[in-house]
């Protein structure tokens, strides 16, 4: 176990939960220690958004980020990946500051719609990210392809562990 440095405050670890709630839906929930208006800013201002959407531990790097956050406005994210560029884009269907944001994911044929809600409770904000796929097949395919985001080595180890448990 690592010794905690006394000069630093105890880090507050809010749990991130992720579930497939139905054949077509994925839901991620997380509480953020801050008021909804600031959390909403971090999701809608490009200069803030690009600082957290792609953490340093990810195998890909964000090279550009344009967010035109208004109903019908477009967003476009470009990532450097294996020598090339991969783009993610879509448009906003709903923008209700500071409680609700809905956007499309238009890069594929069967794109999901992402709804994010920000619910403030006593200075903290419960963030719910809800992805609705057009069909069970579309979400199954996303899972099969791992298109919603690959992750590095330690997760391969987790896969192996799960594989071992399943095989037992």
């Amino acid at each position: 176990m690592e010794a905690r440095r006394e000069s630093e405050p105890t880090p507050v670890h809010n749990r991130t939960a992720a579930e497939r709630t139905s054949e077509r839906e994925l839901v991620v929930t997380r509480t953020v220690n801050g008021p909804a208006r600031l959390v909403f800013d971090a999701w809608t201002k490009a200069e803030l958004f690009e600082r957290w959407w792609v953490p340093k531990s990810f195998p890909i790097k964000l090279v550009s980020c344009e967010l035109d956050v208004r109903v019908g406005g477009k967003y476009r994210l470009a990532f450097a990946h294996e020598g090339g560029t991969v783009e993610f884009f879509g448009h906003y269907l709903e923008v209700t500051r500071p409680s609700r944001l809905v956007w499309t994911n238009d890069e594929g044929d069967a794109g999901n719609v992402t709804t994010v809600t920000f619910e403030e409770r006593g200075g903290k904000t419960l963030v719910v990210v809800h992805d609705l796929y057009p069909s069970k097949e579309a979400l199954d395919a996303a899972i099969a392809e791992g298109s919603t985001g690959g992750m590095p080595e330690q997760l391969e180890q987790l896969d192996q562990l799960l594989g071992t448990l399943a095989g037992a």
Binding site: N14, A17, A18, E19, R30, W52, F58, L155
Partner: protein, 121 residues
């Protein structure tokens, strides 16, 4: 919220509770087979085998495909543990994201405080 996963687990366990269905999985582990072939192998009526196959398919343990008049059964459309592992990866990706988001929000809070006290001066 965990209802979907629970339903799928229940479906998997229910499907595996029957010796004939476990036998069907074992048989499909060696090669694909039609419902007719499975019915013959397990000495059952076609209707009886269809029911077992339906339960296995519902649980996501097998998939079936109809070509002409023959329905062929294949093992494992996607196994549950694969989906669970994927969802855990997805969760960890979001957890990493939210950790970075925390830092941004902390900074915004500090800034707001400083700006607020400046205004009061």
């Amino acid at each position: 919220m965990v209802q979907h996963l629970r339903n799928r687990l229940d479906a998997s366990f229910a499907a595996l509770s029957d010796p004939t269905r476990r036998g069907v999985l074992e048989r499909l582990g060696r090669a694909d087979a039609s419902i007719t072939e499975l019915a013959e192998k397990f000495d059952m009526t076609l209707t009886g085998m269809k029911k077992h196959v339906g339960i296995l398919e519902q649980a996501g343990l097998i998939k079936t495909q109809k070509v002409g008049r023959v329905r062929t059964c294949t093992l494992g459309a996607r196994r549950l543990e694969e989906e669970m592992a994927w969802i855990e990866r997805y969760r960890q990706m979001w957890a990493a994201r939210f950790e970075e988001l925390d830092k941004v929000v902390e900074e915004l809070k500090r800034k707001e405080k400083v700006d607020g006290s400046k205004k009061r001066e």
